[in-house]
Symmetry: C2
Subunit: 367 residues, 2 copies
DNA sequence: GCCCTTTAGCAACAGCGTTGCTTAAGTGGG
DNA sequence: CCCACTTAAGCAACGCTGTTGCTAAAGGGC
């Protein structure tokens, strides 16, 4: 229980919600196998009786169900509890320059429906909102049978934008999008809550929920180079959703001119090397930036993703890893920061976008 | 009310402590003038009656007192409440290679006693602990009259160390300190709680408490170059207290060799320029690193400190500011990130160290 | 089959912030 | 000057939280 919610005081209602979210989060990580009431009590520090009461409420709400019994340890066996996946759903929308991906996920984050189609950001905001809305409606309507409440739509896009207000700042190449309130426009059109975030943040959130613990950086190497930062389990967006601008970090003073106007940005160096076919150099440059990040933030893990990484994953992991290993050796650290390819692949951003709506249920704060 | 305390559940006792800390924090920021119960209620979202109950408990504990009345706005005038400064004290200890500074501060953070003396880290751990302990005892004993409970001692030192366990990793130039459990040794010797942290973190904490809001970076340019990061009001230390290693960020790939063994670190470039007498170049290099930091973390403010900055404050502020201004212009941001010289001066680290013990009282989480 | 161990729930309870109302302490109009 | 009005602060009762004490349920081992 800490102060991050804008300095607000807490009453009994807040307390209840907090503990309920805590339980749900533990139940989610436990997965299909479930977790017993007593283990929930141990993990939270609450009394078993409190856990019984809280889980009873969650069962009444249909969010939690019993899932068999565990082996006895000499007495009455523990009853496992698990999340009810179909108790709630969320849509994740990944909008790119020329393509749209949409997923419908259940409460556990499992994908129960997906769609993919062309998109033209140049067609104007109204047309794009309409296309996106139709995809969402198709996805939600296309699933047969009873569908637990759809909590809303998470939208992930590249480029600078404002998560708090759901407004786009700029969409590279399409000045007509400047300042467009995408969140509210889509919410009004669909009649359900919408949350907007950067693609890299959505991907990082998805990875955090999937089980990556502690603090890590997700580096995305695609048409641009960006990062999603997870610090202490929460996505770090900064005051204006600007955090994670990894690509325009300068690592070569007075180096070649970058598209942003500065010189020696990691993006121009890295993508330049890729263009020359020198993947090892690209990985080395990326590694230097990653090492800067690791030192600055003391993170535990670096995850790589994006089209360019996907083309040669091992070489990038090896190249970035080499730089981090060298750094660890210089520092005398016991073990270097590991580097891996992010799971999720092409759908990772859309799945993470859906988590923008699920996360609050599990006590993952908005910031 | 958020989840940062290791996943623990919250009971009524935790709720009470949380709201009490919230009140104390608001009372502290209100300073000598105080703040009315109703304003506390507005700021926290709690009902006026709840505020009355909570502040009544705090008054019973002697932490809060009435401080006059405000002007009437047509009815009964509001009663101002303020912290009782002498209700608690803490010691801040700043240990450098060759010098020791110690301050005794009251609950509001005001300095009520200070000491300064030579120190030789090469004299060995036992001797240093003894010298430090004597300074603390002298400081605590030297204040006449009733002294509210001394909560403990905050110790700030350079170099890599582990805040969580209170253990030094390395002290540059003194290998015999490797792994020394300074926190526990000093705590045993003094019989009071001790908290250990990096000097830059202590300075940043002190600045955060002094009223710098939101997220900022404190860049310290002294014998080395380090940073203290405050994100969302809390010091970001990272998993192993390693965060803030700003100086060994590479900004000149394959540049000159640094003392750390890498090439093109900001520290070797910046201090090299200072050595050549080229302050403007040093400021430009520092600015490039600051711009990287601003982009990566989306912070609101950059504060400069340390001996070298103190020698030519305006030129550093101007030089770093110019780089950040150029960056803001490229980004099309409405206003550039401001740069200032950190208040606190030579005693800033020691004062911040004392806040390591006061901060928990005011709900400023340990991490 | 009995005893023991362990789990889960029922009932009473202390303590939290909230609600409804009363008292305190000012201002300002007639 | 006094009285009506406004605003602040506290008292009492209340609903709800997690906790405590105890009981019932359910399995294993001798």
């Amino acid at each position: 229980m800490n102060r991050t919610n804008g300095g607000g005081g807490a009453n009994l209602y807040a307390l209840r919600g907090y503990n309920a979210a805590l339980m749900l989060d533990l139940l989610r990580s436990a997965g299909r196998a479930g977790i017993s009431r007593l283990e929930l009590a141990e993990r939270t520090g609450l009394t078993p009786q409190a856990v019984s009461k809280i889980t009873a409420r969650l069962r009444d709400d249909g969010l939690v169900a019993e899932a068999g019994r565990q082996a006895s340890t000499g007495g009455k066996p523990r009853t496992s509890l698990r999340l009810v996946p179909e108790a709630g759903h969320a849509v994740g929308l990944h909008l790119e320059r020329d393509e749209l991906r949409a997923v419908l996920v259940d409460l556990t984050g499992a994908v129960v429906g997906e769609r993919r189609g062309p998109l033209d950001l140049g067609a104007g905001s109204e047309a794009v909102v309409e296309v996106a809305a139709r995809e969402v409606e198709g996805l939600v309507g296309g699933v047969d049978g009873e569908l637990g409440a759809v909590l809303g739509v998470g939208v992930a896009m590249p480029g600078p934008l404002d998560h708090t207000h759901g407004v786009l700042h700029r969409v590279t190449g399409f000045p007509e999008w400047d300042g467009f309130p995408l969140r509210d426009a889509l919410a009004r059109r669909l009649g359900m809550p919408v949350v907007l975030d950067k693609d890299t943040n959505a991907a990082a959130l998805g990875l955090a929920v999937e089980g990556e613990v502690g603090s890590f950086a997700y580096l995305h190497l695609g048409t641009g180079l960006g990062a999603g930062l997870v610090l202490g389990g929460a996505v770090h967006r900064g005051a204006h959703t600007g955090a994670g601008e990894f690509g325009h970090q300068v690592i070569q003073l007075d180096g070649p001119v970058c598209s942003c106007g500065d010189r020696g940005c990691i993006e121009v160096l890295c993508l330049g090397a890729v263009a020359r076919g020198d993947v090892d150099e690209a990985a080395r440059v990326l590694g230097a930036g990653a090492a800067n990040l690791v030192g600055l933030l003391d993170i535990d893990l670096v995850l790589l993703g994006g089209r360019i990484v996907a083309a040669e994953p091992e070489r990038f992991v090896r190249g970035v890893g080499a730089v981090l290993d060298a750094r660890a050796q210089r520092e005398g650290a016991s073990s270097p920061v590991p580097v891996r390819v992010a799971s999720g692949g092409e759908w990772g951003v859309a799945e993470g976008a859906a988590q923008l709506l699920l996360a609050p249920l599990f006590g993952r704060a908005e910031d």
